[in-house]
């Protein structure tokens, strides 16, 4: 039954419906695989019973012929999603042991579609990080290793546990969240697919907030098709989130097509930046050729404010985070440090003990850029630049239908290798502009670098046009023929 874990979600779904195996078999196989992969530290909590009970329901319903989309499919859930009665900690000590009495809209949608939950997935604390090293549970170890090396690599972040779980075949698909690349960069690092939809497609209700104007949930899975299947189940209008889009969810899977005839692919000149390894630019060129082969016409475009995207992001995201994380004060839930005299002392002690270094750094940056005397110079200016970046994309999409870039400026790096926060922030240099503009964007594996590590290609679509992103992703997937798998060492 081990081969069940190699199957895509589409294959599991179709095989289950055709009676080749039961949902229970799928769940049991994955539950066992999760248990056997503890060395990866991908899961923070296992919920085998949850996966089994959903499987039982699917098996019972199979005879009726009226099966929901994800019947029989168990999924891993990033620890940022509130799951009723199950630890939801956002990878932080300040929420250790917190079990919400509510379920996030996205996971509730997945459950409604018949999916079960294998467990909660490790992540950078409050989704702040690009390597999964800021987690209170310790880093996730990527299943991938450099050729001939035993050095532990990061799976990227913040959805590091999610990425590692899919790559190591201990979840057929997972949820991730992306604030400035947290789905796409880890997907690229471990050779899987991941899509961040248009801001507002997925409800943020019940997802622990990092930066509200940027946070967006999305799926990560082995294939483009699997991403389409999962995203259809996750997305949808939610009146409980004011920023949710009141639009129907398109049939992305049904409309999948790798025929890009008539489509124009924008190649932004500003994304050719210094210090990016030649292999990455080479892959980018191959990607352009693949899309050309699929019928698309490459066009050179300009996104002139690209170089300001990263600094803009590192003002807006920390500013919102500094306020969003104020609620973790030790008063109502989570960690509370006792034995202090005043309320202010309790806040200080609780937050000092509960938050890790990166979260504290961002709270301080955010507090600083919002403070009197600095607000206009930093926050207001960043908001203006954000508008210019949106405008860049608006103008670019008059000349093209989808944009192709590399996902990240490097392959996966070793755990502990990047200690300078600014160097770490650079990981998201290609991912952040689409986040600031709220646009759908996806990473698809393109090949391996010289060290045998996966590299991703990045597709950015126009507002609400996930379909073209998925279709271009499918065209790359078909032509890249990426089938490499990490050698099992865990």
């Amino acid at each position: 039954m081990t081969e069940l874990t190699s199957k895509t979600i589409a294959e599991l779904r179709d095989g289950f419906r055709a009676g080749q195996f039961s949902a229970r078999e799928i769940a049991e196989t994955y539950n066992a695989a999760v248990t056997a992969a503890k060395l990866l530290n991908a899961y923070t909590v296992q919920t085998p019973e949850d996966a089994l009970s959903a499987a039982e329901a699917a098996d019972k319903a199979r005879g009726s012929g009226d099966l929901p989309a994800l019947a029989g499919i168990p999924l891993g859930i990033k620890d940022l999603f509130a799951t009723r009665g199950v630890d939801t900690t956002a990878g932080s000590n300040i929420l250790k042991g917190f079990r919400p009495p509510y379920e996030s809209t996205v996971t509730a949608n997945l459950r409604k579609a018949g999916a079960g939950m294998l467990g909660k997935l490790n992540m950078d604390e409050f989704a702040m990080g690009s390597s999964n090293e800021t987690s209170a549970y310790g880093p996730v170890i990527s299943p991938w290793r450099r050729k001939g090396s035993n050095v532990g690599l990061t799976p990227g972040g913040s959805s590091g546990g999610s990425a590692a779980a899919v790559a190591a075949h201990i979840a057929p698909g997972v949820t991730g969240t992306d604030t400035g690349g947290s789905i796409r960069q880890p997907a690229a690092f471990v050779g899987i697919c991941g899509i961040k939809p248009t801001y507002g497609r997925c409800s943020r209700w019940g997802i622990v907030s990092f930066a509200s104007s940027l946070d967006q949930a999305g799926p990560m899975a082995k294939t483009v098709r699997d991403c389409a299947i999962l995203l259809e189940a996750m997305a949808g209008f939610d009146p409980k989130d004011s920023t949710s889009l009141d639009l129907p969810v398109p049939p992305w899977e049904t409309n999948l097509s790798s025929d890009l005839g008539g489509k124009r692919v924008g190649i932004p000149t500003e994304y050719r930046i210094d210090g990016v390894p030649g292999e990455i630019n080479d892959l980018w060129d191959r990607g352009i050729q693949w899309l050309r082969d699929a019928g698309a016409t490459p066009v050179t475009i300009s996104l002139p404010h690209t170089k300001y995207a990263l600094p803009t992001y590192y003002i807006i995201a920390p500013a919102e985070a500094s306020s969003n994380l104020a609620r973790y004060d030790g008063v109502r839930y989570g960690l509370r440090e006792e034995g202090v005299k005043t309320l202010d002392d309790m806040y200080s002690a609780t937050r000092a003990a509960g938050f890790g270094a990166e979260v504290k750094r961002r709270i301080m940056i955010g507090t600083y850029v919002l403070s009197a005397g600095f607000y206009d110079a930093y926050f207001t200016k960043a908001q203006r630049v954000r508008a210019l970046i949106k405008q860049d994309f608006r103008q670019a999409f008059e000349q093209c239908d989808v944009i192709l870039t590399p996902t990240a400026p490097s392959a996966a790096f070793g755990i502990g290798e990047t200690t300078d926060p600014l160097a770490m922030y650079l990981n998201d240099v290609f991912a952040v502009p689409a986040s600031l503009a709220g646009l759908p964007a996806m990473s698809v594996p393109g090949g391996l670098d010289g060290q045998g590590l996966p590299l991703g290609l990045h597709l950015i679509g126009n507002e609400l046009d996930e379909q073209t992103v998925l279709n271009a992703g499918l065209a790359i997937e078909e032509r890249a023929g990426f089938s490499s798998r990490p050698e099992k060492w865990w």
Binding site: F81, T88, A211, S322, R332, Y375
Partner: protein, 495 residues
């Protein structure tokens, strides 16, 4: 005898060295009581519930919870703005005001700093109810919508404070006036008028005891007409009387301080009702940096024409318009002012007119008879057992001569005690007025016979005795004789 100050004379603080003018601005926090739920959550807002029984996941700021604006709260704030003749901003936005406190679960209050829902408007106050020329306009700077915080309870445990989140997230309108008031009386009149308008509109019940309305009082002093002085802000003052006391006390304190060579610190103060004085809470230097920024969980509020039209169409007749209407049908200026001061009274009076009462007679009767009775009985208009329809019936009985004014007073007392209808009371107790000249003549003859000496005096020129004969005749007929016929017959008989 106390000399009453002339209402028209400007209010001045007489210091050691000079006369000073006080400058007052009010920030009134009015709870939107028209809806039973909070600004961004569905939790209830009923007053007096057990602690922490009206708290949603959003109010408690659980991880991942998001605010969703309550449309009805926005509607009520817009209607309030319209009632104050204010500019309604079709585009507004919510901002976060960040600070840590145990009664503030989110660590920020959602408010509107940069783009409030309602812009400039004004309120007309009357310093003297009887005198339209005492009117003064007080400018409104803005109205914004914001969340209330919870409440800390320090008296439940020897070493710990308890937190009650029931009020947390309750919708408030912050109505900010211009510094246009110049005396305690003006501040009081402004607050009463604002309260009346809110109650007319129905957006806020104006119940200051239950905390649905409270004021931050900004006070400064200056030489009359000079540069504005440094102001202090006294927070959370919860009655009209206390607001007036704060203005009075702060003005005097500031004048004494300045004349003693000191300077006014821009600071936040608290009012102690027991001492009738204010004390410093925190200085400007200790003020928080609230790090306001647009709330990224919420989209800007954009109001369309249909919404605004519905808001405008749903407004009731407001006190100013109502007063003018009353005056237009012959009601005195004073009566019109009294009858429109409170929405319940105005509604009751409108119902009385609706039931057919003659306006002038009705107004006089309500102000003199009904209010008199209510005062005596310690009741408000809401408690009165008399319906406007019954009152109209009573007035009609007087107007058509069925009963006299004197009998009407008796009937009214019986109505108050028994709740019976006036026509039934008149019928059952035989109180109908008689215009039977035969019966009246017979009684007059008896009265004149018994009082022959007075008749002689009258005839020799003591004209004022006429009233005495009328009174005696009416008394003999138990008040039921038609007074005009009694007058007429007496004049005929006395020659």
């Amino acid at each position: 005898m106390v000399t009453m100050a002339d209402a028209a004379a400007p209010f001045r603080i007489k210091g050691e060295t000079a006369e000073w003018e006080v400058v007052v601005g009010l920030e009134v926090h009015a709870q939107i009581t028209a809806t039973a739920s909070k600004l961004f959550s569905g939790a209830s807002t009923t007053f007096g519930a057990e602690p922490n029984t009206q708290v949603s996941l959003v109010d408690a700021a659980m991880p991942g919870m998001l605010p969703v604006p309550n449309r009805e709260c926005i509607r009520q704030a817009v209607r309030t703005g319209m009632a104050l003749d204010a500019k309604i901003n079709r585009w507004s936005r919510f901002d976060r005001k960040n600070y840590f406190y145990a009664d503030l679960p989110q660590g920020y209050q959602i408010s509107q700093l940069y783009h409030p829902l309602v812009g400039e408007g004004e309120i007309e106050i009357l310093l003297d109810d009887k005198d339209e020329s005492s009117a003064k306009n007080i400018g409104i700077e803005r109205i914004h919508v914001e969340q209330d915080a919870g409440k800390l309870m320090h008296d439940q445990h020897p070493t710990m404070s308890y937190v009650d989140l029931n009020r947390c997230g309750v919708a408030l309108m912050e109505i900010v006036s211009r510094p246009d008031m110049r005396s305690p009386a003006e501040a009081g009149a402004y607050l009463r008028k604002l309260r009346a308008i809110l109650r007319y509109v129905g957006s806020c019940d104006g119940n200051m005891e239950e905390g649905s309305m409270r004021a931050d009082v900004n006070v400064s002093v200056r030489k009359p007409g000079g540069e504005l002085g440094t102001r202090t802000e006294t927070k959370n003052v919860n009655s009209v009387r206390f607001v007036m006391a704060v203005v009075e006390h702060e003005a005097k304190r500031q004048v004494e301080l300045i004349e003693g060579g000191g300077t006014i610190a821009q600071e936040t103060r608290l009012f102690d009702p027991d001492k009738g004085a204010t004390r410093s809470l925190r200085s400007k230097e200790d003020a928080h940096d609230y790090r306001y920024f647009p709330d990224p969980d919420l989209l800007p509020l954009e109001l369309d024409d249909a919404f605004l039209e519905e808001c405008r169409g749903s407004l009731p007749e407001l006190p100013g318009a109502k007063r003018k209407r009353y005056e237009g049908v012959g009601i005195t200026s004073y009566n019109a002012s009294v009858l429109t001061a409170e929405v319940e009274i105005a509604r009751w009076f409108d119902a009385l007119l609706e039931a057919g009462a003659e306006p002038k007679q009705g107004a006089n009767w309500v102000v003199a008879e009904l209010f008199g009775a209510l005062n005596r009985r310690g009741e408000s208009i809401a408690d009165t057992p008399i319906s406007p329809e019954e009152a109209a019936e009573l007035l009609k009985l007087v107007a058509d001569g069925t009963i006299s004014g004197t009998i009407a007073k008796q009937v009214f007392e019986i109505m108050l005690d028994t709740g019976e209808a006036p026509s039934k009371i008149v019928e059952d107790r035989g109180l109908k007025q008689t215009s039977d000249t035969g019966a009246i003549d017979a009684e007059i003859d008896k009265v004149l016979a018994v009082n022959a000496d007075k008749v002689a005096e009258y005839k020799s020129g003591k004209q004022q005795l006429f009233g005495f004969f009328v009174g005696q005749t009416m008394k003999a007929m138990a008040g039921k004789a038609n007074p005009s016929i009694v007058n007429e017959r007496l004049r005929a008989k006395l020659g």
